[in-house]
Symmetry: C2
């Protein structure tokens, strides 16, 4: 067994390309229909293949779905990280703004992928407990926490506008800190989750069209105020460069 497969990079490359094309076709189809759903038959048609051929690359629809979810996490994480790194690291406030804007922008641009990873879990898809998607999720969300860490390290993170932190949350924060190099104080931990929820709420409502009755400029202004408020409340410094 295993006669070849030692030196067949050509085949592997073609295979990877086909896999990418399948995923892209599925995505395109989801974008066109505006939903989180696809038919193997449609993908095959668009690629000028017959449906059973796809089973050479994905065991079933769920496996393709899992791959798309993992990719979506990666893409969101990448988009956010890129936006953050495009801002000088001595202006944490501006970095925060950039992160928030990237999150919103990605959600608007890719509402289907957004729903895929942050909406109601999709039909037939059960997140593998320790699989690649969970890991990807952690990576994507850590973009936000890393920003708070930077702020702490630079000593620019003010006290969040919070009442006393509930002991249960403090304990939860402590548990989370075990895996981190720099410790996050409980009130920062809470502020972080507050920030994420606040940011996510706007992004989700807008991405799904529930703000469509407000015109573009109004939504932009609204989001700006929304995020600045969240930053203030979380103790994030104001951006130096507006």
């Amino acid at each position: 067994m295993s006669t070849s497969s030692r030196s067949a990079p050509r085949r592997e490359k073609a295979r990877a390309a086909t896999i990418d094309e399948i995923k892209l076709t599925a995505l395109t189809h989801m974008r066109e229909t505006g939903t989180v759903d696809f038919r193997f038959a449609d993908i095959a048609r668009a690629m000028e293949m017959t449906p059973p051929a796809l089973y050479r690359y994905f065991a079933d629809r769920d496996e393709l779905l899992s791959a798309l979810i993992a990719d979506a996490y990666d893409d969101l994480g990448r988009a956010v990280a890129e936006a953050r790194d495009a801002v000088p690291d001595d202006d944490i406030g501006a970095r925060f703004l950039a992160v928030a804007r990237a999150y919103r922008h990605w959600a608007r641009q890719e509402p289907q992928q957004f729903a895929l990873i942050l909406g109601l879990p999709v039909a037939g898809y059960a997140a593998p407990a320790d699989g690649p998607t969970t890991e990807a999720a952690q990576r994507a969300m850590s973009q936000l926490s890393s920003l708070f860490l930077q702020a702490i390290e630079r000593g620019v993170l003010g006290p969040p506008r919070l009442r006393d932190v509930h002991p249960v949350i403090a304990e939860c924060a402590a548990q989370k800190n075990q895996h981190l190099a720099t410790a996050i104080p409980p009130e920062t931990f809470q502020a972080m989750l507050h920030t994420w929820s606040t940011l996510h709420g706007f992004a989700a409502l807008e991405a799904y069209g529930h703000f469509n009755w407000i015109d573009e400029a109004g939504r932009d202004a609204l989001f700006d105020g929304h995020v600045r408020l969240a930053a203030e409340v979380a103790g994030m410094p104001a951006p130096k460069a507006p």
Copy 2:
């Protein structure tokens, strides 16, 4: 034509009951599978009928979906309104808290219905531009704005912690005010949307399981702080009765 149908309340009652049963069965199925999807065949099976029989009550799957969406809006609106009215109307702060808790509670209890109305628009369903769902949506969301109106009328609404309101938003608020008896100042309008977004973000993330790594007590404490912060920022008075 129209021989009977003038006095056949018996038939109509049975028909309404069947319609309700269909919707309930669909909901149950969605709850069991944890997704926003159902098969006509499954519903029919559960009701011990044959699939084509359902077409006597709904023209197709989309029509049933539309009905479910309208019902979900009604249910959310009802739940929120009930929670609000259960609190004495001289304690606006407590009413606000009750409304927020009801929103969250409903989202957690009925994640599928929540996704149905506030998630990514569902496959094959196009919201009728002027149909019953739009109206239902307005009614449900007006629960929140009516609370702000009450606060204004009683003069207990403090200034929201906002920078200057963008003229575009002011214009948008003015446009919205045309349909209202009492005028809502622009900054309140903005505070309202900020509140909704903030509240919705937490509710959605939690309902879809993205806070599952925090235990129940922690989430409760988190939500409490989250909402109190939102209230403070929006200028809502603190609740008298905690």
